[in-house]
């Protein structure tokens, strides 16, 4: 189960509303490299991980991503709070406003609703962990791009914190990948080709040899 703690992981206190900026930040909620996708990626991948350490790592990072999702949503909420429809329209927020008012809805900066197609869970620890490493780098790039465009110091402070976490997660996923790579030889009878197995699916000792099909003679 999950337990809620009534506090953000890092405080969000935005002094000046800015709907234009809110639209950009929104991408890290519902966009292709956002925190919702990150959380769903890890929390769904964790079940079939072949080591307890990896199940723990994905659970703990996936949980932290939920709190990042809450922080990103809090930024968007505070950036759009108390504005008039005219102000929102002047800041390029009319298209979002017409569907969602100032409610929080996960879309990318270009308005595409969140899609589970932005992440994968293929039930293979090597493939999934490599995706996780790439995902952390893509999220860092997105935060870098936000920092190139955002000039509000209150927003930048929070975005810098989130960017830093992508780097820490990348480091931990790298260590996680090494943990399972070091054990691959246990899964394969052929040490010269350690990647010819799926450690999340195949038993220790390697996949069962394919059985010869009986062919009926013509």
């Amino acid at each position: 189960m999950f337990q809620y703690e009534k506090a953000l992981q890092y405080p969000v206190k935005i002094a000046r509303p800015n709907a234009r900026l809110a639209k950009m930040i929104m991408s890290q909620l519902g966009g292709p490299n956002g925190e919702l996708g990150a959380s769903m990626r890890y929390l769904n991948q964790r079940y079939t991980m072949p080591l307890r350490e990896l199940q723990g790592l994905l659970t703990d990072i996936g949980t932290e991503e939920l709190s990042h999702m809450e922080m990103v949503s809090s930024i968007v909420y505070q950036l759009t709070k108390g504005m008039t429809p005219e102000q929102l329209e002047a800041q390029g927020f009319a298209d979002y406003f017409v569907d969602h008012t100032t409610g929080i809805y996960p879309v990318s900066a270009s308005g595409i609703p969140f899609s589970a197609a932005t992440f994968q869970s293929v039930g293979d620890a090597i493939a999934d962990l490599n995706e996780d490493l790439a995902a952390e780098q893509k999220a860092r790039t997105t935060y870098d791009n936000i920092l190139r465009l955002a000039d509000d110091p209150d927003v930048r402070d929070v975005i810098r914190f989130l960017r830093e976490r992508e780097i820490v997660h990348y480091q931990r996923f790298g260590e996680g990948l090494r943990l399972i790579q070091d054990q691959l030889s246990r899964y394969t009878p052929d040490p010269s080709n350690p990647y010819a197995v799926n450690p999340s699916f195949d038993p220790i000792g390697g996949p069962p040899q394919p059985r010869m099909r009986k062919r009926s003679s013509i």
């Binding site: 703690e5 009534k6 506090a7 405080p11 969000v12 206190k13 350490e53 703990d60 949503s73």
Partner: protein, 95 residues
């Protein structure tokens, strides 16, 4: 000495107390990720336990004075309002 520490806890405001509690909470979570991939590092485990102890101290003072951070902290004397009627984290005044 212990009395002085207690007094300084009492004189801390809401934001200050929350910052202390959440700093230790964050340190715990960061160390947790490290421990997931380095489970036998006793130095990291001890640091985790130190932060856990400090978190519990600040979180419990915070809960008594400003409302529960988790449902487990709800007590009879403060009623349900201690959970539901304090600022939610996305509000500016909660941070």
């Amino acid at each position: 000495m212990a009395e002085m520490r207690l007094q300084s806890l009492d004189s801390m405001g809401r934001a200050e107390l929350l910052c202390e509690a959440q700093s230790h909470e964050f340190a715990m979570r960061d160390l947790a990720l490290y421990l997931d991939t380095h489970p036998t590092d006793t130095e990291a485990l001890n640091a985790f336990l130190d932060h856990k102890k400090a978190y519990k101290k600040y979180a419990s003072v915070f809960a008594d004075r400003f409302g529960a951070l988790t449902m487990q902290q709800v007590e009879q004397e403060n009623g349900w309002a201690a959970w539901s009627n304090t600022p939610w984290p996305w509000e500016k005044e909660a941070n």
